[in-house]
Structures are given as structure tokens and as C-alpha cells.
């Protein structure tokens, strides 16, 4: 098992390398140069050259990449063009919030989606099934920002409720933190729930068609045991795949949701950096998020092999 995880981690290296090259190159395509962004167009040649040297911009492009990567690997993501503060520290302090938001959303989506998916499968082709199908399609279709806006509108107009302002971390005041997070997490969770619901329904149906389910019934198992001990466990494998994919949607969604609910997370950091043209920050934060996404998918894969004895650790 350990060797398997290690091997999978090693296999990530080329992917992460590709990701970093991609981010680096795309950031190089920015029209205009960073130096003019900082100094303005009126700057003296002398000042420009000095700054170029400081950022290593006078070097050939592959050396610039190596320099950046060398920094990243030793924990130095560079400094923000705006604040001059190290980027990695900022990323890490904001990552906690984004991770909490993502996990909470994922959790909310499961507790909505999996039971509804099971019910839809068991009551296939009834009005219940139809209702679940519409709910899940709505979940997929309502953009998180539209749901958030409408939700805030309804809450403020009908209940005079406003989400508490001023972010408090989970460790300072768990109750208040949860109060702030529950609404954004719900908004993000519903979008993910739609896809998970569909997958739960179709994979439960798929499993129930299998021969071994008949064997279990022939043993005298109750429907409860057939569904929860056997069908659900077998269905979890495809459900996990979709969950892994949806985590990416969630992480992307945090960019929008953190903005709407004024949560100082990683998503908000990226957006602010983009608006301020603080490219080293964008570069670092995007690399970080993509890496997290890749690692979460690895985690899902490992969970997979834990669940399914047919997957060998070779």
C-alpha cells in the first residue's frame, strides 16, 4: 500500500511539472511588461534595467523558469508586486479558509445528494424519481453566483438576515465561523449535489442489476442490507470519481463565492491579484490551487483502491 502511494506520488511529478510550465508560459504571454506596470511608462532606462535584473527578467526564458521553480521548490514563491510580502505565507494563511469552505460544501452536497440519489434509484420511473431528476438538474444549472445573490436578496428582504461581517477563523470562534461559512458552503454544495445525485442514482441502478445482488437476496437478506451493505458500497466507486472531479468545480467556485461573501480565502486572493495585475501572486496561487486539486484526486484514487480489492497495488 505504501509503495503504491509512493509510486502514485512519483507519477504526479511530470503532471505537476507540466502544470508549472503551463502557468509560467501563460503568464509570460501577458501583453506589456511587469516593469512598466510597476514603474509606469515614464521610468528611466537605468531604473528599468535595475528592476529587470532584480526580477531576473534579463535572463533567457528557461532560466527564468528554473529560477522561479527553484524558489517554489524551496518554499519561496517570490514576493507580491503590491505589498512586497512573501507570497507563500499569504497563500498558506488563506488556504485554511478555502479548504474549510470546500470540505464543508462537499459534505453538504453529499448529505443532500446521496440519500436523494438512492431514493430516486429505488423509486425508478416514479414521480419521486422525476422530482429528484429535476432537482439535480436545477442544482447543476443554477450558477453559484446567481443562487448566492438571490439567496442574499431573499434573506435580507424577507427575514432581514445578513450574514455576519468580518471574518473569524474556525479556531478563534467556531460557532461564529460556522455561521459565516454555512451559507456560502450551502451555495457551493448544491451545485455539486446535482452531479453526485445523478451518479448515485445511475450507479445504484447499475449495481442492482448485477448478478451478485440476486445472490445476496437469495441468501435471505433484507432490502435494507442489500441496499446499504452491498449496493451502496459498490456504487461508491463511480460516485467517488465524480466527487473527485467536482472538487475542482468547488475550488473554482470559491473564487466567486469568497468574493460575494467577502471571505479572505485563496480564491479572493487570486481575483484581487488579477485585478491588481499582481502577476507573481496569480502565478503562485494558481499553481498552488492546481496542485491541491491534483493531490485531492490522488487521495480519491487511493481511497478507490482501499475500497475496491480488485485494484492491485502493483
Amino acid at each position: 500500500m505504501f509503495a503504491y502511494i509512493l509510486r502514485r506520488l512519483l507519477m504526479l511529478i511530470p503532471v505537476l511539472f507540466g502544470i508549472s510550465v503551463f502557468i509560467f508560459l501563460i503568464m509570460k504571454m501577458i501583453p506589456g511588461d511587469v516593469v512598466s506596470t510597476i514603474l509606469g511608462t515614464e521610468a528611466t532606462d537605468e531604473a528599468r534595467r535595475q528592476l529587470e535584473k532584480q526580477f531576473g527578467l534579463n535572463l533567457p526564458i528557461y532560466q527564468q523558469y528554473l529560477q522561479w521553480m527553484g524558489g517554489v521548490l524551496t518554499g519561496d514563491f517570490g514576493v507580491s508586486l503590491r505589498t512586497g510580502k512573501p507570497i507563500l505565507g499569504d497563500i498558506i494563511s488563506r488556504f485554511g479558509l478555502t479548504l474549510e469552505l470546500t470540505m464543508l460544501s462537499a459534505f453538504i452536497s453529499w448529505i443532500i445528494a446521496i440519500p436523494l440519489g438512492i431514493v430516486a434509484a429505488l423509486k425508478r420511473n416514479t414521480s419521486t424519481d422525476f422530482g429528484v431528476r429535476i432537482i439535480s438538474l436545477l442544482g447543476v444549472s443554477v450558477p453559484n453566483f446567481a443562487l448566492a445573490t438571490l439567496l442574499l436578496l431573499v434573506l435580507s428582504l424577507a427575514f432581514s438576515y445578513y450574514p455576519p461581517a468580518g471574518y473569524v477563523s474556525l479556531f478563534e470562534d467556531p460557532m461564529k465561523n460556522l455561521q459565516m461559512m454555512i451559507l456560502p458552503a450551502f451555495v457551493l454544495g448544491t451545485a455539486m449535489a446535482g452531479a453526485v445525485m445523478r451518479m448515485t442514482r445511475s450507479s445504484i441502478l447499475e449495481v442492482l442489476r448485477q448478478d451478485f445482488i440476486r445472490t445476496i437476496r437469495a441468501k435471505g437478506a433484507s432490502e435494507r442490507i442489500v441496499i446499504f451493505n452491498h449496493a451502496l458500497k459498490n456504487a461508491m466507486i463511480p460516485i467517488l470519481t465524480i466527487i473527485g472531479m467536482q472538487i475542482g468545480t468547488l475550488l473554482g467556485g470559491t473564487v466567486i463565492i469568497e468574493q460575494i461573501f467577502s471571505l479572505p480565502g485563496l480564491g479572493q486572493m487570486v481575483l484581487t491579484a488579477i485585478n491588481q495585475r499582481d502577476y507573481p501572486v496569480v502565478q503562485g496561487a494558481v499553481l498552488f490551487i492546481a496542485t491541491v486539486f491534483v493531490l485531492i484526486n490522488l487521495l480519491v484514487d487511493i481511497l478507490y483502491s482501499y475500497l475496491d480489492p480488485r485494484i492491485t497495488y502493483k
Binding site: I30, S141, P143, V255, I274, N275, V282, A290
Partner: protein, 275 residues
């Protein structure tokens, strides 16, 4: 194809989807003739007015007619959606065909690049590309097109590989039909079914992504109307003028919902084992 149409007729959900998508398309096509006002004209003395006989959906903070803007927004949404899915689908079709047919190092290279693109959350990738290229209509479409390329590439590649194993392809090759002829004469039509489903679903995804980008101020730029941007602007005023939030939100939701209904029905029709 006839059989599919016959089955679609029986599927009520699919019909609702078709009608909804049709209405949105009509709105997009004939919008300018429908809207009573110019979408960017500011009626200064009518700011933040509620729905009325003159301004059906009310006016926004600049006194612009929301109905006209929503209608114009439909045009923008569909335009961006179609063009960006067009970009993603064409790139994906070409890459997928090449990768699936050759299944050698070219395939490997293409698929690894797609893996890299897949490693980014959709919105984040689109955001980054737009940020780099500069936010405007064309770049929004390019960014969304790139975001949707990997999914098309995978779909097409998988279909090509499946089709390649079929008897008639093997026999076509055996009797000496040239490789590229085999691809275009035989493989392409068989890849179409999953491709169409994917396109419908991608359309809703593209419209959603455009709205999200515009919502964040990195898509369609003002004063051009976009549902996402309208919704974003509405947030400051929505308590005193809820209509400026409600109408664009409703149109985004209904449009994406209808495309998803249609895509979903198509998927069930073309892949009945999921039903």
C-alpha cells in the same frame, strides 16, 4: 437519427428542453426587434424604477431598460456560448481524432497536455487566460474554448477508439482503404452521437462560465449587457430594486436549465443504459 427523434418526442423533459432552448434562440435572434428601448440608452429621470408598462422589467441604476438589456444579454450569452463551444469542439475534435486514431506518442503527448488543462478548475483556468489576454468579448470566447477543449478531446478519442475496434473499420483497413479516408468516411459519423451530447452540455457550461466571468468583471465589459455583469452590478441596489437582480438571474438559470434538460435527454436517448 429518425428513431432518436421518435424517442425524443416521447420524452416530455426533452420536449421542455427543446422548447426552452428554442425560445432562448429566438430571443437571441430577434431580440433587437423585440426590445422597446436601446440596451445602453440611459433614461436619467427613470433610474431604479420598478417594472411598468414602459419598462417591463424596470430600470437599473443608470436608468437603462432592464428588459432590453436582458434580451440583448441573451444574444451575447448565446453568441459567446456558440463560438466558444465551437472553438473547444473543433480543437477537441481534431485532437481527439488524431489521438484516438494513432494511439502512439502523438496520442500520449496530446492527452498529457489535456491532463494538464484538466488539472485546473474550469473557472480558474478561464480567469487566468482572460487575465493574461485582457478582458473582452473575443478573449472570453477563446478562454472558454480552451477550457472546453480537453473534455471534447477525451470524448472524441474514446469514441474513436471504440469505433476502431468495430468490425467494419478493421475490414475497411484490410481491403486497403487509406488511413485518412477511413477516419473521415467511417469514423467521423460514429463519433457524432457522443459529440452532439457533449456539445449540448458544453453549451450550458459555456454560458455559465461566461456569466461567471462577467460577474467577476473579467468577461464582457460595460456598457455591453451581459447577464453575469448585470447580476453583479445589481448587488449594490438589490434591496431597494430587487428586479435588477431577479430578471437577469432568472434568465441565466432558465437558459442553462433548458440546455441541461436537452443535453440530459439526448444523453439518455443515445446512451439508454443510464436510464
Amino acid at each position: 437519427m429518425k428513431e432518436i427523434m421518435a424517442r425524443l418526442k416521447k420524452d416530455k423533459v426533452g420536449i421542455v428542453g427543446v422548447i426552452g432552448v428554442g425560445l432562448v434562440l429566438l430571443l437571441g435572434l430577434f431580440g433587437p426587434w423585440l426590445s422597446p428601448h436601446d440596451s445602453t440608452e440611459m433614461y436619467k429621470e427613470h433610474m431604479l424604477e420598478g417594472p411598468s408598462a414602459t419598462y417591463w422589467f424596470g430600470t437599473d441604476e443608470f436608468g437603462r431598460d432592464i428588459f432590453s438589456r436582458v434580451v440583448e444579454g441573451a444574444r451575447v450569452s448565446l453568441y459567446v456560448g456558440l463560438i466558444s463551444v465551437g472553438i473547444g469542439a473543433s480543437l477537441g475534435f481534431v485532437f481527439g481524432l488524431i489521438a484516438g486514431f494513432f494511439q502512439n506518442w502523438v496520442d500520449n503527448l496530446i492527452m498529457r497536455i489535456m491532463d494538464i488543462l484538466f488539472a485546473f478548475p474550469d473557472i480558474l483556468l478561464a480567469l487566468t487566460i482572460v487575465a493574461v489576454l485582457g478582458p473582452n468579448l473575443e478573449n472570453t470566447m477563446i478562454a472558454i474554448g480552451i477550457v472546453f477543449t480537453p473534455v471534447f478531446t477525451r470524448t472524441v478519442r474514446a469514441a474513436v477508439i471504440a469505433v476502431k475496434e468495430m468490425e467494419f473499420i478493421i475490414s475497411a483497413k484490410a481491403i486497403g482503404v487509406k488511413t485518412h479516408k477511413v477516419i473521415f468516411r467511417h469514423v467521423s459519423p460514429n463519433v457524432l452521437a457522443p459529440f452532439i451530447v457533449q456539445s449540448t452540455l458544453a453549451l450550458s457550461g459555456a454560458i455559465l462560465t461566461e456569466a461567471a466571468l462577467s460577474f467577476l468583471g473579467l468577461g464582457i465589459q460595460p456598457p455591453n449587457p451581459s447577464w453575469g455583469a448585470m447580476l453583479n452590478e445589481s448587488r449594490q441596489y438589490m434591496e431597494i430594486a430587487p428586479w435588477i437582480a431577479i430578471f437577469p438571474a432568472l434568465f441565466i438559470i432558465v437558459t442553462i436549465f433548458c440546455f441541461n434538460l436537452l443535453g440530459d435527454s439526448l444523453r439518455d436517448l443515445l446512451d439508454p443504459k443510464l436510464k
